[in-house]
């Protein structure tokens, strides 16, 4: 059935990129991992709830929880979990359940926004470093080394100390913190992809660097980017919560979970539930991202799964 004409006329399109197949493969393998699929749907549901309740509140002024998250009710303060207040109330009598529901958008928002911002800077850096190599690679990687020299939350702290504490600044700080991870991983994958024979074939066909990068390298490094991003969201959420807990992030009365933990700190003796539930909420969300990300990573690199 083969047509000889087609065989002789080799065009760039005929040189198949393995990327598409890889992505399909990834999805197929991922679907076999039941906990990871559950984690994925759990995240989707949380995201939907967070967006819907926020939209209803901001655009229509409708509050879906029995109490408004910011309603102060001093008579009912320090109430433990009851039928009326599922997760109890805090030191100002605010409904912790409502605050957790309405705080979800901040946690998820910071997580997604910071990782997307980090990827937007880190991925191009990694590709350029890996693809061009040489001096450019050297300079980029040294910058990355500098960013990596600030361990963990410290870089974010330093940045917040310049910009001042706020939700937006925390997001920026966490985004910068995730740049080196993206740059390193993408550089590695780019180097590996560059070595593939089909890239040589495409170059031999006269494709420009720009075209090779966008049409051929990028799709190939997409899987590790997605895996990395998912696991980074988990870290980003923890870091952001930590900053808010330190008072460097979301400012009162925003129902951000880390800030709520900070509120609960002073009442551990008599009203432990104030600190309990926001922490459980962070744990649950981060757990979901980690399970989801682990599943993606195992699907991407079965060697790591045992």
């Amino acid at each position: 059935m083969k047509q000889p004409a087609e065989q002789t006329a080799v065009t760039e399109e005929k040189v198949q990129s393995p990327a598409l197949k890889n992505m399909k493969d990834l999805v197929k393998k991922f679907k076999r991992n039941k906990p990871a699929v559950v984690g994925f749907y759990f995240i989707v549901i949380l995201l939907l709830i967070a967006i819907i309740v926020t939209v209803l509140d901001r655009m229509f002024g409708v509050i879906v929880t029995p109490h408004h998250p910011n309603d102060i009710n001093l008579i009912d303060r320090f109430t433990g979990p009851t039928a009326e207040y599922w997760f109890g109330t805090d030191h100002m009598g605010r409904d912790i359940f409502a605050r957790i529901i309405y705080g979800m958008i901040y946690t998820l928002g910071i997580g997604f926004a910071s990782v997307i911002m980090g990827a937007l800077v880190g991925v191009p850096l990694g590709i350029v470093a890996g693809y061009y190599g040489g001096r450019i690679d050297n300079i980029i990687m040294r910058i990355v080394d500098v960013l990596l020299a600030f361990p963990g939350i410290l870089l974010a702290l330093a940045i917040v100390s310049i910009l001042g504490g706020s939700l937006v600044n925390v997001t920026i700080a966490v985004a910068i913190y995730s740049i080196p991870g993206f740059a390193r991983i993408v550089r590695g994958s780019t180097l590996a992809t560059k070595k593939l024979e089909y890239i040589d074939a495409i170059r031999a066909l006269g494709a420009s660097d720009f075209r090779i990068i966008f049409r051929h390298i990028l799709p190939n490094v997409l899987s590790p980017i997605i895996v990395n991003a998912t696991l980074y969201i988990a870290t980003a959420i923890l870091t952001a919560a930590g900053l808010s807990f330190l008072g460097m992030g979301a400012q009162p009365p925003l129902p951000e979970w880390g800030a709520m933990l900070n509120d609960g700190r002073s009442f551990l003796r008599d009203a432990g539930h104030i600190a309990l539930f926001p922490g459980l909420a962070i744990l649950t969300v981060v757990l979901a991202f980690n399970i989801f990300g682990d599943g993606l990573r195992d699907a991407l690199d079965p060697k790591l799964k045992n």
Binding site: A149, G152, G242, G247, M248, A275, L283, N290, N306
Partner: protein
């Protein structure tokens, strides 16, 4: 090997340059005159000017930077804006507290992480494997400051087994070290397990089996030594995470270490103190990583020379 060590030390130069430059710029990137911020918003102009003179802030940037670095090299971090005492004297006792906390937590996480990882790998797919990996996943997903709060609430406040705050007595050490070490133990356990499983599938393990070596000896003599090599890298990274994690842990347990000092300094806008802490922690981290890299290289040299 020696050339490698020398090369690695030379590679530190741009990193240290970048770190100091970044920290130096921290002060100048802040909106407003640093001296004005430090002196207070209502401080009259002549006070601000005198402060600028005293801190050398009236000099050109490059001169300021050179002086900044040469002072640091002599461990002169200037004077705290709050106490007017030399920062190095303020930090010195706090440095040892933080280092102690980080080292104890590292030891705990290595100890628990490696043992749990081995058990998990050896009894792959057994109940103990599943439980250990679940606990590790939770440990990884938990905000450590929340874990600290919960430990404090139950073990210190409710049951009174340990003092809730402070540092120094053996009792005071327990809760903060568990708080800080948990995530590291989780990461190391996961890494040990996967590394162990990879090693167990290697050809030389088959050789050992074909020689008639007992399974237990295979695990502890033939596999473990190889499996721990990649774990060394993770331990280095974990030490960094722990160093920065001290910020949160020290805040939770009111420990008078560098972590709390940096937070207090940020809140008080005591820039020289912030700069000093960030530099000390980062440089410490950079050197720990250097040691880890060199030992990794040393351990690994027998493996990949091909």
């Amino acid at each position: 090997m020696t050339t490698y060590i020398i090369r690695r030390i030379f590679q530190l130069i741009p990193v240290l340059f970048g770190v100091t430059l970044f920290v130096f710029l921290l002060m100048h990137l802040t909106p407003g005159k640093p001296a004005q911020i430090m002196a207070g918003e209502s401080a009259p102009t002549h006070v601000v000017e005198r402060m600028e003179q005293r801190l050398g802030l009236d000099q050109p940037y490059h001169i300021q930077y050179v002086r900044f670095v040469s002072n640091i090299a002599q461990l002169d971090f200037g004077v705290s804006m709050r106490s007017n005492l030399p920062i190095i004297d303020e930090i010195r006792p706090k440095f040892w507290v933080t280092l102690e906390l980080a080292i104890y937590s590292t030891i705990l996480s290595i100890f628990i992480g490696i043992i749990a990882g081995i058990v998990s790998a050896v009894r792959r797919h057994s109940k103990s494997d599943i439980i250990i990996m679940l606990v590790a996943l939770f440990g990884l997903s938990m905000p450590n400051f929340w874990l600290g709060l919960m430990l404090m609430q139950w073990f210190a406040i409710n049951w009174g087994w340990f003092p809730p705050t402070g540092w120094g007595t053996p009792g005071q050490v327990v809760l903060p070290v568990i708080t800080l070490g948990t995530a590291g133990a989780a990461v190391i356990a996961r890494m040990t397990r996967s590394s162990m499983l990879e090693v167990i599938s290697q050809d030389y393990i088959r050789t050992a089996r074909a020689k008639g070596v007992k399974e237990r000896v295979i695990i502890y003599r033939h596999a473990l030594k190889n499996a721990l090599i990649p774990v060394v890298t993770v331990i280095g990274l974990q030490f960094g995470a722990l160093l920065s994690g001290t910020v949160l842990t020290e805040t939770v347990f009111a420990i008078n270490g560098m972590g709390r000092y940096v937070i207090d300094s940020i809140i008080a806008r005591d820039f020289p103190a912030v700069q000093a802490t960030i530099i000390i922690i980062s440089v410490l981290f950079v050197f720990v990583n250097l040691i880890v890299d060199i030992s990794y290289r040393y351990l690994n040299k027998r493996i990949d020379l091909d």
